[in-house]
């Protein structure tokens, strides 16, 4: 049992902190958000040079070979810095490619890892809030290829990607794990309508309408991707817990600072016992979130897929509630100031709200956790 960080992990943390401090201050970020520009190639390039975009991929496909713990530490730093770049899109799209194609994914991943292209995976649909395999989008084989029809929601990074990875059903019914194919669809395809936006925490995302989008045969990257999708979404879920953990840490320490300096009735508001206990509650939620997130990141390294899924759901169920609580309390303790766009606290709150829902909210993951059987408790 060892919870200490390796030298590499400490260096990773330091490099993120330095990056935020130098190139990603709150002021710079706000200026970014004030523009229409969804993508900053200089920043993205920097992230590639740090090796962050290659972190989650094995060395055999040209990645850094980081563990899920490393990915969590990266996300934690980016969450702390309110980074809006779609790094989660890299994880989702890149990991499913690696998992499905193995070494054959190297060529595709090269551009992703060196930062010359942003990838995107579109799997979520309106028919289900969270179940990854609720795929109603259909892929009908036609002469020389397929036509894809359906709707996709909240595809991270899609507005800045040239090519989208889209899940579509080759056979079976929504909810079946079997029968889902993965298709490479150029963003400019005829019949593909992209409704682009920023998500509530600032990252670009899109809803997609596919109406008889024709793709060639080789656009079908794999024919039965359900299991891989579930695994990759579980990994991303744990990483999101890391992001939320970083956001919560920053939110907590900023709030602690605030109550020590803000005066009302002639004393710092942090001298009121009720507010002290509220901060203690926040503190405990942050620490418990840290524990369960690291637990899930470590469990994912194990060989039991059900244990990994249970761990991911346990972590997300816990962190979703904690993120909501910490965000809400932070705004409450900041009073009017917490309600403004001008202060970072509100932006942390929005990020925490987003992350609390992304890849499944508390109710979803509690239910999922309860439904996944284990052989033994210990």
């Amino acid at each position: 049992m060892d919870f200490s960080l390796s030298e590499e992990q400490r260096l990773l943390q330091e490099s993120i902190d330095r990056f935020i401090e130098k190139d990603y201050t709150f002021t710079k970020r706000q200026q970014r958000l004030a523009t229409e520009m969804l993508y900053d190639s200089a920043i993205w390039q920097q992230m590639a040079e740090f090796g962050w975009l290659g972190l989650p991929f094995s060395e055999t496909v040209g990645g850094i070979g980081g563990s899920l713990v490393d990915a969590v530490l990266l996300a934690q730093g980016l969450g702390k810095g309110l980074v809006i770049e779609p790094y989660l899109a890299v994880l989702l799209a890149g990991r499913i490619m690696e998992r499905l194609l193995g070494e054959a994914a190297s060529a595709w991943l090269e551009g992703v890892i060196e930062g010359s292209k942003v990838p995107a995976l579109a799997y979520a649909e309106p028919g289900s809030r969270f179940a990854p395999c609720w795929t109603a989008t259909s892929a009908r084989p036609v002469q020389g290829g397929y036509t894809l029809s359906g709707q996709k929601l909240l595809a991270l990074g899609a507005p800045v990607a040239e090519e989208l990875l889209v899940t579509a059903r080759l056979q079976g019914e929504p909810g079946d794990v079997q029968g889902i194919g993965l298709f490479a669809v150029p963003a400019q395809s005829r019949g593909l309508q992209m409704l682009a936006y920023r998500m509530m925490h600032g990252t670009p995302g899109a809803d997609l309408l596919l109406e008889d989008v024709v793709v060639p045969k080789e656009a079908c990257l794999a024919e039965d991707v359900g299991r891989a999708l579930l695994t990759v979404v579980d990994e991303a879920t744990v990483v999101v817990c890391g992001d939320a953990l970083g956001s919560m840490e920053a939110t907590f320490w900023k709030t602690l600072d605030y109550v020590k300096t803000r005066k009302q009735f002639g004393v710092p508001i942090g001298s009121f016992q009720v507010l002290q206990h509220t901060l203690v509650d926040m503190f405990m939620e942050v620490e418990q979130s840290r524990s369960i997130t690291y637990m899930a990141a470590m469990q994912a390294a194990g060989e039991d897929p059900i244990a990994a899924a249970r761990a991911a759901s346990a972590a997300k169920a816990y962190v979703s509630r904690a993120a909501t609580l910490v965000g809400q309390k932070a705004v409450q303790l900041h009073g009017g100031m917490g309600m403004t766009e001008e202060l970072d606290i509100g932006h942390y709150f929005r990020r925490l709200t987003m992350l609390s829902s992304l890849f499944g909210d508390r109710d979803y993951h509690v239910r999922r956790f309860g439904g996944l059987q284990t052989t033994a408790m210990d």
Partner: protein
């Protein structure tokens, strides 16, 4: 004990229902039911329609241009109003400064201001909070110095809701530096078009512009705009806080909100199941509806006490605490039902139905409900001190 409405009350309800069905503009009805913020024109336009009908100042006595309704009638009206998709009127005129002018205003002030408030012709805002005086109003600093027949105001007010829409502001200012903290405060009315008034918008975390900071740079206000005596501002403000608390719980709008949620839960599906049949959604809807029932009857009890001449007193803090918590919980459930469909930010470019597309706005803005108007922590201090004799 008896909760049946009389035949007359039921007839009144039917009349109100019919009139609202005929008169609430469809665009407003739609926006309100999805909690999309209204424009100034929409809000004021609707208030003028109400004003012409004589129902805008719904709790005012007839002599000042109100309908002279009983507490029960007001309750019935308010529920019908919410279910008809009509917004609450802005409280600053009809619920706040109006009653204050009735109680403390001169005859001239009454004649000058009350008819325009009741008609929806002048829009008010409230100047209480300051950057360094949030919940601790007694330490406010904006000064009003007497110069001839004018007060000259310097300083700043913050969190001023709809200041950018307002024709007038009522505010608390410091007219004496020497008197004991609270005794140096006076209650003034001012014209927002006065020279020296500037407004800085404050965008809130829902991404909208409701709030402002207002700056006063040698703003001259005639002495006749003082309400009550100089130095009595604290007393006047406290009267206002005590006055009209019958709608503080927000029962009518929460009833409408839960009804909307129940309909939505029947319309939408998650993984092939009607959302209203998912155990978690069903449970949370039931829990919130039960909490609302308790709140509604607590509200009835307060109304009944007021009708029998008792003061609502600190019990209204309970209504405020529980009412705002419920509003927040309802907005949170809608956001969580929306999930992926509620996460795109401030855009109509999504595949989500409007109820989900606009779910984030109330969720974020309603965080203010437990902060403004005396935070819920302060409300608990009030109950502890005034009702329980603690502290």
């Amino acid at each position: 004990m008896d909760i049946d409405f009389t035949k007359e009350e039921l007839a009144f309800r039917d009349e109100v229902r019919q009139w609202l069905a005929d008169n609430v503009p469809p665009e407003i009805r739609k926006k309100t039911s999805y909690t999309i913020p209204l424009t100034k024109e929409e809000q004021q336009g609707w208030e003028r329609i109400l004003g012409r009908k004589g129902w805008l100042a719904s709790h005012w006595p007839k002599e000042y241009g109100g309908p002279g309704w009983s507490a029960t009638q007001r309750y019935l009206y308010d529920v019908e109003r919410a279910f008809a998709g009509a917004p609450l009127p802005s409280p600053f005129g009809v619920s706040m400064v109006g009653p204050v002018i009735m109680a403390y205003g001169t005859t001239e002030q009454k004649q000058r201001y009350l008819p325009k408030i009741a008609a929806g012709e002048e829009f008010w805002c409230q100047g209480y909070s300051e950057p360094d005086a949030g919940s601790d109003l007694a330490s406010l600093k904006t000064s009003a110095q007497r110069e001839g027949d004018d007060y000259v105001i310097n300083g700043s007010k913050i969190w001023t809701t709809q200041a950018h829409w307002a024709d007038r502001m009522f505010c608390l200012v410091r007219t004496s530096q020497e008197a004991k903290k609270q005794r140096g405060i006076s209650f003034l009315l001012l014209d927002m078009k006065s020279p020296g008034v500037t407004i800085r918008p404050i965008v809130t975390i829902d991404g909208h512009h409701h709030l402002n900071q207002v700056f006063f740079d040698n703003v001259r206000v005639p002495v006749e705009n003082l309400v009550g005596e100089e130095g009595d501002g604290w007393t006047v403000a406290k009267h206002l806080l005590q006055f009209e608390r019958t709608t503080i719980a927000g029962v009518a709008d929460s009833k409408k909100a839960i009804n909307n949620l129940k309909e939505l839960a029947q319309e939408e599906r998650d993984g092939g199941v009607i959302m209203g049949d998912l155990p978690d959604v069903r449970r949370r809807l039931a829990e919130l509806e039960i909490d609302l029932l308790a709140l509604e009857y607590s509200n009835f009890r307060t109304l009944d006490a007021v009708a029998r001449g008792e003061s609502p007193g600190p019990e209204s803090s309970l209504l405020k605490i529980k009412g705002t918590e419920l509003q927040q919980a309802l907005s949170q459930l809608r956001l969580e039902m929306g999930a992926n469909r509620s996460m795109p930010w401030l855009t109509d470019q999504t595949l989500a139905p409007p109820a989900f597309r606009h779910a984030a706005t109330p969720y974020f803005f309603l965080r203010a409900a437990t902060i403004y108007g005396g935070s819920n922590e302060i409300q608990k201090n009030v109950i502890a001190k005034m009702l329980l004799g603690l502290g």
